[in-house]
Symmetry: C2
Subunit: 215 residues, 2 copies
Amino acid sequence: MTITITAFERSPDRGNGLARDMRVRWALEEAGLPYEVRLVSFKTMKEPAHLALQPFGQIPTYEDGDLALFESGAIVFHIAERHGGLLPDDAAARARAVAWMFAALNTVEPPVFDRALARILERDEPWYEQRLRGLEDSIRKRLDGLSHRLGDAEWLDGEFSAGDLLMVTVLRRLQGSDLLAEYPNISAYVARGEARPAYRRAFAAQLAVFNASNG
Amino acid sequence: MTITITAFERSPDRGNGLARDMRVRWALEEAGLPYEVRLVSFKTMKEPAHLALQPFGQIPTYEDGDLALFESGAIVFHIAERHGGLLPDDAAARARAVAWMFAALNTVEPPVFDRALARILERDEPWYEQRLRGLEDSIRKRLDGLSHRLGDAEWLDGEFSAGDLLMVTVLRRLQGSDLLAEYPNISAYVARGEARPAYRRAFAAQLAVFNASNG
């Protein structure tokens, strides 16, 4: 059975690995699973064939035989449940890793994503500076909590897990900002994620798609 | 072993069941599990004892013997994994229910929560109307996708699941707005969730806390 995921034909992040297929590629690489990629355009994403797989017209999707999934968090969890290296065996540690998965996507990502969106869409609005400050204050509250909990540990809770994988992908959206630089332990944590061989293979694969579409 | 969760001593929603402990209470009621509640104030939430349980200083938390969890999505999943009625037995259907859990919290909740926050914090700003329209456009895109997928089904994918539980709690934040009224099938879906006996018990329990604190 071949695993097929979808990704942007031409990613708006210019191959910087911020699109949500990166999470799924990374998880597949950690699990050592081969996969194929079907590229979609902003037009085909909104057409019935894609909406049947992804009700909100987004990427990524995941197909494996009869199973079709959407939501990067759910896809990463599905891979993590079935293959080694992304969730601890111990039941309590596993539940805590799942808590970090939800923390990445429901607590840390929303203000981080809002800031990225505001920087694109609201730059010329009269409220831009005030809004950006408000968002950055919200992000700092999250990073304060994260930095305090992480301390000088390598990963959030013992061994590297799907919780770390999602958290690193969320935090990468702050790279190049003063925000991340204010938290050296978080910056080092993100760098540790990016140094993993599976991360590097996933990053190279999505960059190759972008380069080909601009070739 | 007694399950203990945390909730607001004085919920800012005035007992309307929008705080995130409601999700956990509802899941516990669906599973038929008794639980205790430890109330926290906005002050004690930020103190070391609570931060040890919840790194971001939020509610709810979940304690069961040696296991301590945070993130409402992860707590609901933990309950759903161990008890009947919240996740299908079939592996593919279960993976799809998890996809709806993540969709509720990572795709639908962020703009819905942003709108609620803007209505509180930005009401007096000169840009308020424009910002609200932008947020409501984002929410409509989500509701379009959700409404199309739901159609005239009772729940999002077969039997009621933890995905429906989370989605209904997210959508309730739109109640009283024109937004929800524009989608009769989604309104009816939310009403079906609220009509479940487990929902009603959970709602009554959180309302009793609010009433007691205003006694």
